[in-house]
């Protein structure tokens, strides 16, 4: 039993044309037992900046809180919104500070630059190694399945509606092949002027 598979999670972030999408499942379980079907795994760190945290549930919540703390102080000190790129460095630093006793989360970041509106996605391992890509990032207990789905469904320059369909299909199909993730899905589509949240119901098992 791996500690990263104790609670179960699945998160995907995808880049579209002038937009990004981030989706997560909603299950909170303790090994085989499902405890909650509306557990928050994505957190808003800025008006157009989200972080998805799969992994050990207690660390999901602690890391989200600690990050919010750091982001709040940053925005107060610097009197400006944090850029997604800078936020990624901040998360990486937070995780590496615990290099020899890490937080068991492997975050996914999605957002738009506050000034240029440029889409940005990135993922990280549990000790803060960043990976910035131009297409999609996945993290969770069914990452192999998510990689397979994303690789076949993703195409460049999708609009917000197309992106919603694609990311939903990818996530739903992937979690259906994983015992510890699923039980509902939440998607955020982040555009220049709005964030649209969609709740999806799939196989509730």
């Amino acid at each position: 039993m791996s500690i990263l598979e104790y609670n179960g999670a699945a998160i995907i972030a995808m880049k579209g044309k002038n937009c990004v999408a981030i989706a997560a499942d909603r299950r909170f379980g303790i090994q085989a037992q499902t405890v909650s079907t509306n557990f928050q795994k994505m957190f808003e760190m800025g008006p157009r900046l989200f972080i998805g945290l799969p992994g050990l549930a207690t660390d999901v919540q602690t890391v989200a809180q600690k990050l919010q703390f750091r982001v709040n102080l940053y925005e107060l000190r610097e009197n400006r919104r944090i850029k997604p790129k800078t936020f990624m460095s901040m998360v990486s630093n937070l995780l590496y500070e615990r290099r020899f006793g890490p937080y068991f989360v492997e975050p996914v970041i999605a957002g738009l630059d506050p000034k240029t509106d440029e889409p940005y996605i990135a993922s990280m391992d549990l000790i803060g190694c960043p990976m910035v890509t131009e297409e999609f990032v996945v993290s969770g207990t069914c990452s192999e399945q998510m990689y397979g789905m994303c690789e076949s469904l993703w195409k460049p320059d999708m609009g917000p509606d197309d992106l919603l369909d694609t990311i939903s299909q990818a996530l739903q199909s992937a979690v259906d092949r994983d015992a510890v993730s699923g039980w509902g899905c939440l998607v955020h589509i982040i555009e220049k002027d709005k964030v649209t949240t969609t709740e999806l119901k799939g196989r509730m098992d």
């Binding site: 000190r77 610097e78 009197n79 400006r80 850029k83 790129k85 800078t86 460095s89 901040m90 630093n93 000034k115």
Partner: protein
């Protein structure tokens, strides 16, 4: 084993002043003049570097120092105190970079340096720094120049143009007349030299003044040859 003081040496006088800070400001006002001017496309820092004897090797020690590639600093007051602050500022700037992978914005480094200076007015067994600093920086994000002054008290101010050190009152009056919002960097350097000239005794050469500029290409201390060119267009 030296016993450290746990009480501050900077204490209030009955009139509500911190006399140690006042005295520090007096030390600054007795120091060699420095000037800073913000232009539309950059900032210039200039300072007098008069040496007491011709035997001094002028080009080995610098008053104008780079903190990061986009921020530079100059002082008026006590040189040794300045060195400590330069070292501190450089470390703080690098710590920021380590954390955010982004160059420290000018306003942020100023806040941190000013905080250090303030700590020395409220900590045990230390005295305030006997320097006022002028920090010049270029913010990549906003693409704007910034000029800040840090005082021994820890107070900091953003300026369009200012003078510190000896004769700073006259310097500021001179700048008030000469400054305009649409000054470009070249004109600003020219004006800075003229401001220094107001209080300069003797002949100004490329070896007894120092000039630094900060624009979108970063901070740079001018070489004596470059300073000579500017002086030629003034004299």
């Amino acid at each position: 084993m030296s016993e450290r003081y746990s009480f501050s040496l900077t204490t209030f006088s009955p009139s509500g002043k911190l006399v140690q800070i006042e005295y520090a400001l007096a030390a600054v006002a007795a120091g060699a003049p420095s000037v800073g001017i913000k232009a539309t496309n950059g900032v210039v820092l200039a300072t007098e570097k008069k040496q007491k004897s011709i035997l001094y090797d002028e080009n080995s020690i610098h008053k104008i120092e780079m903190i990061t590639k986009n921020v530079g600093m100059v002082y008026s007051g006590m040189g040794p105190d300045y060195r400590v602050l330069v070292k501190n500022a450089r470390k703080l700037a690098q710590q920021y970079y380590l954390l955010y992978q982004e160059h420290i914005p000018t306003a942020q480094i100023v806040q941190r340096v000013a905080n250090v200076m303030q700590e020395y007015t409220q900590s045990g067994g230390v005295r305030p720094f006997g320097v006022s600093l002028l920090l010049a920086g270029w913010d990549e994000d906003e693409e704007t120049p910034y000029l800040y002054q840090c005082d021994p008290s820890g107070a900091y101010f953003a300026w369009k143009a200012t003078a510190i050190g000896k004769n700073h009152v006259n310097g500021k009056t001179f700048l008030e007349k000469r400054y305009s919002d649409n000054l470009e960097l070249e004109d600003a350097v020219h004006t800075a030299i003229l401001t220094l000239k107001e209080s300069f005794e003797g002949q100004m050469t490329e070896d007894n003044i120092e000039i630094g500029i900060c624009n979108q290409d970063g901070f740079k201390r001018l070489s004596p040859a470059e300073v000579k060119d500017y002086l030629a267009s003034v004299q």
